[in-house]
Amino acid sequence: MKFVVAVKQVPDTAEVRIDPERGTLIRDGVPSIMNPFDTYALEEAMKWRDELGGVVTVITMGPPQAESVLKEAISMGADDAILISDRAFAGADTWATSHTLAAAVAELGDVDAVFFGKQAIDGDTAQTGPSVAASLDWPQITFVGKVRELNKDSIIAERYVETGMQVVQTELPVVLTILKDANVPRVPSLRGKMKSRKVQIPVWKLSDLGLTEAETGLNGSPTKVVVTATPEARTGGQIHEGSTEELVSRLADLLLGEGGEA
């Protein structure tokens, strides 16, 4: 089987802030990590590779330093990786990103399944996976909590959605987006870490994908971010102490005083 896992390097959200002037993320000094949801996608692909045989290729589109998440994936057990990097790809929205990733999957050829995390923790759109499926004109199963069966022709997976669980069957090739319910990602192995130190990760550029500048990056992005803002920080509440009677009447006064009407 030939599986592809698309991962994204994201800022560690525990550390991230937004520049209120420019409406963009302040990335300086913020450590970059593999998008946590992507680790479940990677584990799911490796789990099925271990069972069925084949290779797991990890891809990411990003600046040269995004290579580090690919090395991390290799240390966890991915077979190989490709960095999709070109100045022409900069500023891509989910449409242009999907178009570019789909071109890479097509270039790899004979891919049976592409695994995505359910969403990236920086943009939170959950659009890239489905949009790659659309670009490739492949079926997709999103929000997969469990892959029940997978063989060379078809897949049966459980989608965990707000209204409950759906069991979906489709033919391969397929695009999946994986939830964290699916598995427990493995710890990197020593041999994996040794391999990741030595591995030369190929870089695919615009010309390698047969795309034009008009289709990629900022030029190929119909979405424009008009404004990004941080909600005003909430002030702390008030704590009142006293007997129930006192508190009830004080609360009533406060509500009536502030709201005007009861």
């Binding site: 493995r186 710890v187 990197p188 020593l190 870490k193 040794m194």
Partner: protein
């Protein structure tokens, strides 16, 4: 302190930290309370190649040696001394094969230990043979192309959990310790059963169990080295494994110091953090200093073994004695710093104090080790 660990050692450390944070920390109290063997964690260690590090590459390992084993054991011990010894006891069990096994034995057993497919244990101690290893009573009688084993081994770490055991038994009782031989016994061999599972003070995640041999027939090719070499195999094994106990002690102590530093920065008395009191600062300073000294001695012993040195039993014993005494002292002080909370099971330091105690006792009590150190020193001084 930066010990300039090379990239491989750094990688091992990172793997152990990830296993510790994600897989040991959340369940260590439960493993301790329920006396439960960490099977799942062993599987994760296997997948992460941790069992490969002390096994040469030609037998399916990564051949990184004693220093690597010390780094791994130390890091795992920061999270749980019981889980760490369950790991390190595999290296102890494999050591007789690594050091003295035949090519056939190495080819047969080491790859399945490196992959973690099978666990291993070393069986020397008996009810009447502790520090006096010469008191071994288990017999092995040659019968054609087999040996027949009879006897009971006691307090065997990984007993009942391992599939491969290296066992010391007497082939010639007349000759005492010089009549001992080492054997490989596989789980499931008829006549080999498990006895009592011990209920211990500390390292309760680890399995400690009796092994009972009743007319247990093993193939003669399972003899390690030659008849009569068993005591030497055992002593060499322990000389090689003692830096591992030292590393376990350093890790347990470091874990306790980390807790004491964290707590003393949060706990306030008299309106200030308790780490602002000089009396407590002096305790922290001594704990940190002793740990660094123990770590340096441990790495020195492990490094000496990796360098191919022949005589390392003195420094190996020194590392074990010093680090285990430090672990007992530091964990006791950590409980003191956490005060009443330190004595409660809601905080991890009381467990660390219980875990630390065994490092002064097993793989040669600290009293025996001091004898070893003194004898080696006296011998060195008078050799000239």
């Amino acid at each position: 302190m930066n010990y300039m660990l090379n990239e491989d050692l750094q990688a091992i450390k990172e793997i152990c930290i990830e296993i510790g944070e994600k897989h040991i920390l959340p369940i260590r109290a439960e493993l301790d309370e329920e006396n439960k063997f960490p099977r799942e964690i062993m599987n994760i260690m296997a997948q992460s190649d941790l069992f490969t590090i002390y096994i040469p590459e030609e037998y399916g390992g990564t051949g990184m040696g004693s220093m690597a084993l010390a780094v791994a054991t130390e890091e795992l011990s920061r999270y749980c001394g019981g889980v760490a010894v369950s790991y390190a006891a595999n290296a102890l069990g494999a050591m007789p094969i690594l050091l003295m096994g035949s090519e056939e034995q190495k080819k047969k057993y080491l790859p399945q230990l490196a992959s973690g497919e099978k666990l291993c244990a070393f069986a020397l101690t008996e009810p009447e043979a502790g520090s006096d290893a010469g008191g071994v009573k288990t017999r092995a009688i040659k019968d054609g192309d087999h040996y027949i084993l009879n006897g009971t081994k006691q307090w065997i770490t990984n007993g009942g959990e391992a599939q491969i055991y290296t066992v010391i038994a007497l082939t010639d009782p007349e000759r005492g310790a010089r009549g001992a031989s080492a054997f490989i016994v596989e789980e499931g061999t008829p006549g080999f059963n498990y006895g009592k599972k011990e209920n211990k003070m500390g390292i309760r995640a680890s399995a400690t169990r009796e092994l009972i041999f009743e007319d247990c027939r093993i193939p003669a090719e399972n003899l390690i080295s030659r008849e009569g070499f068993g005591f030497m195999v055992a002593m060499k094994t322990l000389d090689n494994s003692r830096p591992g106990v030292a590393a376990q002690a350093v890790g347990i102590a470091q874990g306790a110091l980390d807790e004491a530093l964290k707590y003393s920065n949060e706990r306030k008395q008299f309106g200030v953090k308790i780490n602002s009191f000089q009396g407590l600062q002096f305790m922290l300073a001594d704990m940190g200093t002793q740990i660094e000294a123990a770590r340096a001695l441990t790495y020195t012993a492990a490094g000496l073994i990796d360098s191919g040195a022949k005589n390392f039993n003195k420094v190996s014993a020194m590392a074990k004695v010093f680090a285990s005494d430090v672990a007992m002292k530091v964990t006791t002080d950590a409980v003191q710093i956490l005060g009443g909370y330190g004595y409660m099971k809601e905080y991890p330091v009381e467990k660390m104090m219980r875990d630390a105690k065994i490092t002064q006792i097993y793989e040669g009590t600290n009293q025996i080790q001091r004898s070893v150190i003194a004898k080696a020193m006296i011998k060195e001084a008078h050799r000239k």
